[in-house]
């Protein structure tokens, strides 16, 4: 059964990518153990990670199984990045990795040695809001606020990468980010306004 929404490519991509990443996220030590159905208790695999988050270089020792999302939220208290599905389907966990928007729930933290991460907390300068954050407030582009961080991170790259040429192109780019409260129209209004001002973001 095909739903009446006119675009479907994104969904089927999501489903395939989800299955792949799920396999990837199962560390090989356990896959092996699981195959023979015997578990040998072993220490939690700890690995060193050097990563820059919001301009600050960190040297960490982390559980090898940790996703970037859980590293941010549980270990480093960057709770502005949200957990919505852990399947790469909702976009609430969107961050920038070396300037590119990425769903952090789909990334093993260890694969990001020496990468530069920007989270929602890194967009504003102290109390001074980023123009996209200010536009989201002006257009009331959220209700509960839970998908907002991800929407804003996507919105910034939407404008930066030149995808904010029309409402339709903004919508297509932003289809990666679900808002269940239904603030979509206001989100597009906010993005269109920031794009129109031409301010470098």
């Amino acid at each position: 059964m095909k739903p009446c929404f006119q675009e479907d490519g994104r969904r089927s991509f999501l489903k395939k990518s989800t299955a792949l990443v799920a396999m990837y996220l199962t560390p090989s030590v356990f896959v092996k153990a699981f195959a023979v159905d015997t578990i040998v208790p072993m220490p939690i695999p700890k690995e060193k990670l050097t990563i820059t988050i919001n301009g600050k270089k960190l040297n960490l020792e982390i559980d090898a199984r940790t996703t970037l999302l859980n590293l941010l939220r549980e270990e480093l208290a960057f709770t502005g990045t949200k957990k919505g599905c852990e399947m790469g389907q909702c976009g609430a966990c969107t961050i920038h990795i070396n300037g590119k928007r990425t769903k952090s729930c789909m990334q093993l933290a260890l694969t990001h040695q020496n990468n530069k991460i920007t989270t929602i907390e890194g967009l504003s300068e102290g109390e001074k809001l980023h123009p996209m954050q200010a536009a989201f407030i002006k257009h009331d582009a959220f209700q509960c606020g839970y998908c907002t961080s991800g929407q804003i991170m996507s919105a910034v790259t939407c404008v930066r990468e030149g995808n904010a040429k029309s409402r339709a192109s903004i919508q297509a780019y932003m289809d990666t980010n679900i808002c269940r409260c239904g603030a979509y129209q206001n989100i597009v209004d906010a993005i269109a306004e920031v794009a129109k001002t031409g301010v470098k973001i």
Binding site: C4, S12, Q133, I137, Y184
Partner: protein
Amino acid sequence: MKSNNNTIFWEDERVDGADKVNGKAKYAAEHSLPNMAYAVFVTSSIAKGTIKNIDTSKALAMPGVLDVIYYANCPSVLGYISNAAERPKNAMEWRGHKVLHDNKVRFFGQPIALVVADSFESANAAIRFVKAEYASESFETNFDKARLDTKNLKINSNYKRGTEKKFKEAFAFVESEFNIPIEVHNAMELFATIAHWEGEDKVTLYDKTQGPKSTQFTVSRTFGIPDKNVRVIAENVGGAFGSGLRSWANVPAACIAAKKLNRPVKLVLTRPQMFSLVGYRPQSWQKLGIGADAAGNFVGISHEAITNTSRYEDFREGIVDASKFLYACENVDTKYNLLPLDLSTPVWMRGPGEASGCFALESAIDELSYKLKMDPIELRLKNYTTINPENKLPFSDINLKDCYAYGKNKIGWKNRPTVPGSLKENGMLIGYGMAVGIFGAGKGSASVRIVLSNDGKLLLECGVSDMGPGTTTAMTILASEAMQMPIQKIKFKLGDSDLPPGPSQGGSGTTSTVGSAVDLACKTLQQKLKEIAIKSAPLFAGMNAEVLEVKNEMVISKSDANIKMAIVDLLKLANQDKIDLTITSNGKTAAQLKFTSNSFSAHFVKLGVNPKDGTIKILQVVTTGDAGKIISPKTARSQMLGGVVGGIGMALSEKLEIDHKTGQIINASFGGYHVPLHSHIPPTDVWFVNKPDHNINDIGAKGIGEIALIGLAAAITNAVYNATGKRVRDLPITPEKLGFKSKQSL
């Protein structure tokens, strides 16, 4: 922006907006406590039966795993004792599935064990090694099949006025069946609870709930401890849409684990668990008959409905209620039965009852309008009533006529083809449709603490929550207007059960209930200020409180504006560092009970259907609300926009799919359960009548959360009929239902 004597009282923005755009707003799972452990549910892989054994040894051997809690090692919980005689008086029986308590499986995906570890990774890695052995039993999850056998039905309620099935004698009538599948709230924030026992009988919870006070009550009764020893914090709630109106398995499970391990425990549900553990809109079957005379006057309405519930709890909603009183009609009969299935229990979902009921009623009226060759808006106007025909009480206010007039003009109703399927634009079949929504407008009791400090700042507190509609903003605006002082000096605090008791946020009642308390608190404070002025300031000596007013942060004489004193100076003069009052506003007064109070909406849709593949593109929506005075225009508009998005999902895509051979939900993810995305949303206009309804409360405001969605799905199916001549009565509308072969499976 609003001004008075050049003083700006409030900016037209969300007062908590900055925290939500910069990531500072904290939701339940985002609190961190020292020595906190992480818990993850293991869920059943059968739909019904008994667990014979759970092998936890492998999971326990995994690194970092602290415990696996299940029925065999679960500490006793007073509220789990079924026998009232054995249960202590301070405990109340837990409603619903008693998680981790017994070895019964009642639905597929039911939590059967809880893995607790020192990190999320360790807990998550261990769940797959918890092995359960079951003795399966036969089960039924197939609503469509089970409802056909009347033995399966539980009679819930019947209603009749006038003659039963009178519609069949009318000049023209329709009788149709409507099916709505299970829909799931799927708020973006995952349900989460952090439980921290600070003593043997004292617990603090960070919880995703629409009611901090109701969760406090549930937890105190379940564990048999005093209310004051349970603190529930929910400062921010990432959407809930009704799913947070009761406590689910995550609440007792987190409390049990935290107590057993003697350390704080964080339990976060997964997205798939959000489909089966926190309620849903029940599946429904409805049969609606409606008939009218040649002039269009309704002769009779018969409305029958069945909704599903679980085997272990009855959940009912007002699915047939709107048919009793939305339109003038002498002969109305309704029947409502429940169908227990081997699924988890449903719960209120945005527009509970009426969203399903109005889909049937408003579709049938549209159908009838074609039979009568009458414009559907004219038909509704013909049967317009200002008196509730069920209880004969007048509506406190009703302005649906204004909604019709505005929406008709704005959507371009004059372009609507009278012959379905006859209008084409850009290669698409074009259709126009409209439908009405209605929901009760309540007013309950709430307490508010108001604190005016001698630095001129005003603090208000109430133990309600804000899941997104903008309660904090609306309450701050109300206080700003009542006190005639700038919004920047006002703070409204909510989301904590330690604050004065407020209602759960639900049923579109928060603004009316808490707003009335805020208004009363401000008026009480003003009276107090006047009394202090007369007593302490020589300027006002001997004056009567009636001749004074409080505005612009001053106490001023009404007759001579030169006789005035700043509030801060007054407090200093009176040697008071603050005024601290807690007031309670009660439910409806006797005068208010002489009315039926409702909010109303009318939605107008223009859409195009692709004649090649049957896909639908919504081109424009005009949504209008009749809900008294709009306190916070910007957030209210957003709420209406959100209702449209929810309604589009209900109409075009949302459907929970169950494999009836296993009882398993097979589309428990956003990849399988489609909610509307950016691209699916058309330009939408929002309009409010915005006329105070003082018959319900002093502030004149009613709720809009439900009416924003109720009726929207019918407006869309009515427009699809107008575009194609095909009447879809089973949601969601797919190309298949319009006679097209689906191009590909999902």
